[in-house]
Amino acid sequence: MIKTNPIEVDRDKGNFHYNTDYEFDAGIGLSEDVVRYISDVKKEDSWVKDFRLKALNTFEKKKLPTHWATKDLENIDFDIIRYYLSKGQMPSRTWEEVPDDVKRTFERLGIPEQERKFLAGVEAQFDSEAAYSRMKDDLSEKGVIFVGSTEGLKEHPEIFKKWFGKVIPTSDNKFSALNSAVFSGGSFIYVPPGVKLEQPLQAYFRINAENFGQFERTLIIADEGAEITYMEGCTAPKFETSTLHSAVVELVALKGAKIQYVTVQNWSNNVFNLVTKRAMAHEESEVRWIDCNIGSRLTMKYPGVILRGRKARGEVLSIALANDGQHQDTGAKMVHAADETTSNVIAKSVSIGEGRSTYRGLVQMPGHLKHCKNNTECDALLINSDSQTDTYPAITVQGEDHSVQHEASVSKVSAEQIFYMQQRGLSEADAMSMCVNGFVNDLIREFPMEYSVELKRLIDLEMEGSVG
């Protein structure tokens, strides 16, 4: 870790941009016409178009949540954003068929290698639509569905419609409403009863165009006893103006199912990343969000689990790194809605330079339930004296026999620690990196191996130039 080897994966990895001609372009700004255009291009059924138009109306009515969230949200100019850009609606099934400019982008990001190495399936989204989507043949034979949302709506409307918008209603918040109006891309996954995926499925989200808004919509359904791990990665080039990424992700774990959802986000510093993620966990099912937020200008994301079946289990493991000019506003929501449900939240944040990290937690345990458990730990590490962290845990527990545990800590890397490590020969920056890696290490171990290696490198790079 200490010798700075030539690094292949880094924060600048995504900072490149090839000029691309788009066949479909909804133009600049948001209106009913834009929403109709998107729906027409996708040749959607009328119920989807109506759903979108209703959502647009909700979006326009809802205020920005600046009464509790940062005023920086007011700097998003919805009138200059481009809401839909694509080269076509149907993704290629082989790399050869992917258009050259798009292929170049994903090859540079290492997507085809990763697929060969350790994945059961890959979807690569370029701006609004999936450019490539493929899954191992034996999984389709077992009835597993892994396609983009556009294709999912067309090919599997009966499953899609049953669950779509049921975990996160359009009106949940202003950005879920915006997503519901203009959503495009994202993954649609269905795992049939008892099917257990041994390798992860992965989606890669790439913003390529300037002033573009990416609004993917992901819906994952694990039927009874099914198991799946899904991973997503994201990058964008560094443009002069800001970019909006506002996804909605809904997970449904039916009886005894297990879903693990892993995010490694490495946005450039001008991305507003405002994402709504929530899962519905039925009886004896297990949902685990593993979430790592690096980069972006502002991230607001609080993955949640609604524990609606007896003995359901929800977990959020979250790492956030806030560097200069960044605000990571992250957390978790655990809504206990059945007896004997358990939830666990472990959140670690690192604030570097003038970076700011915020933890917001919500835990609800109503009085009519029995034997629910929650454990929450949130730890913040401050690197510099300008670094900032704040914590807002909201835990509502009613009734007699629940068990709730909450721990929070704030620590600063001390000058004595750095001196001690330097006395053994490590440079100040390397000492700092080791402290930060040490702080997040137990959580990083929970990540799939391929990701944990990349993550450690990303953290080292974030630490560069952060001292002195």
Binding site: M1, I2, K3, S414, A415, E416, Q417, F419, Y420, M421, Q422, Q423, R424, G425, L426, S427, E428, D430, A431, M434, C435, N437, G438, F439, V440, N441, D442
Partner: protein, 250 residues
């Protein structure tokens, strides 16, 4: 051959002068002990030589093999060959002993050389066995939750692994029981060689029964006020420091 030559070193902490034109020479191959009452400047000397940021060097030089350490960064001084075993080793949560020592070794390796993990662990385990440190400690966080004795053993382990040219032991005997003192001293003695120098800072003569010094210096108000052989330590032990203060006052 590594000689430590300190000349007229003056050091302030928060505008208070602690070391006042301090001079000392420890030739390669020798072990020198510095004794003295609390507040005489012993620990300041060790911290200042290691370039702790809270200590301001006002003047003077400290040469290791002719290279002036004053003005260098703490990590540069370490890589130049000076090792300081801390009086109070710092806890670093999350950073394991094995990873930390490995990083410290890699920090002093030439780029062309590749690190051999198998050899590294062989050597690490051997030295842990010698110092009576359980091998499970490799995956424990550095000094985190260690007892006083465990911390001191871990300091000597790092010293042995990093193979420094010159070692300063700052009150390594404090907080050690007699068995730990023996083991730690044996570890230090096994590193004595014609090339390596040691500066042993202690309050008590007891340590010097195990690590027998070539010379003993007494420090008082930021200066060396008396030097002698190991008998001086025995004399101090029986008479205390007051007789030196009285002699100086006279």
């Amino acid at each position: 051959m590594s000689t430590l030559k300190v000349h007229n070193l003056s050091v302030n902490i928060e505008d208070k002068t602690i070391l006042n034109e301090f001079s000392l020479e420890v030739p390669a191959g020798e072990v020198h002990a510095i004794m003295g009452p609390n507040g005489s400047g012993k620990s300041t000397l060790s911290k200042a030589l290691a370039a702790h940021p809270s200590y301001d060097v006002l003047g003077g030089t400290a040469e290791l093999d002719g290279c002036n350490l004053i003005g260098m960064e703490p990590d540069e001084i370490s890589r130049a060959g000076l090792f300081l075993a801390f009086q109070y080793p710092i806890e670093v949560p999350g950073v394991t002993i094995a990873n930390f020592i490995r990083a410290a070794i890699q920090a002093r390796m030439e780029d062309s050389k590749s690190f051999k993990a198998v050899d590294y662990y062989k050597e690490l385990y051997q030295k842990m066995d010698d110092l009576g440190i359980d091998r499970k400690f490799t995956s424990r966080s550095l000094n985190d939750g260690f007892s006083g004795g465990e911390k001191k053993r871990c300091e000597i382990l790092q010293m042995a692994m990093l193979d420094p040219k010159f070692c300063i032991l700052d009150e390594t005997d404090s907080g050690l029981d007699i068995d730990a003192l023996r083991v730690v001293s044996a570890g230090v003695n096994s590193m004595r060689s014609a090339e390596r120098g040691f500066l042993v800072i202690t309050h008590y003569q007891r340590l010097l029964d195990y690590i027998v010094p070539d010379k003993v210096h007494v420090m008082w108000e930021g200066k060396i006020v008396r030097s002698g052989d190991k008998e001086l330590a025995t004399e101090l032990e029986s008479k205390g420091y007051d007789w030196i203060k009285e002699e100086l006052a006279a």
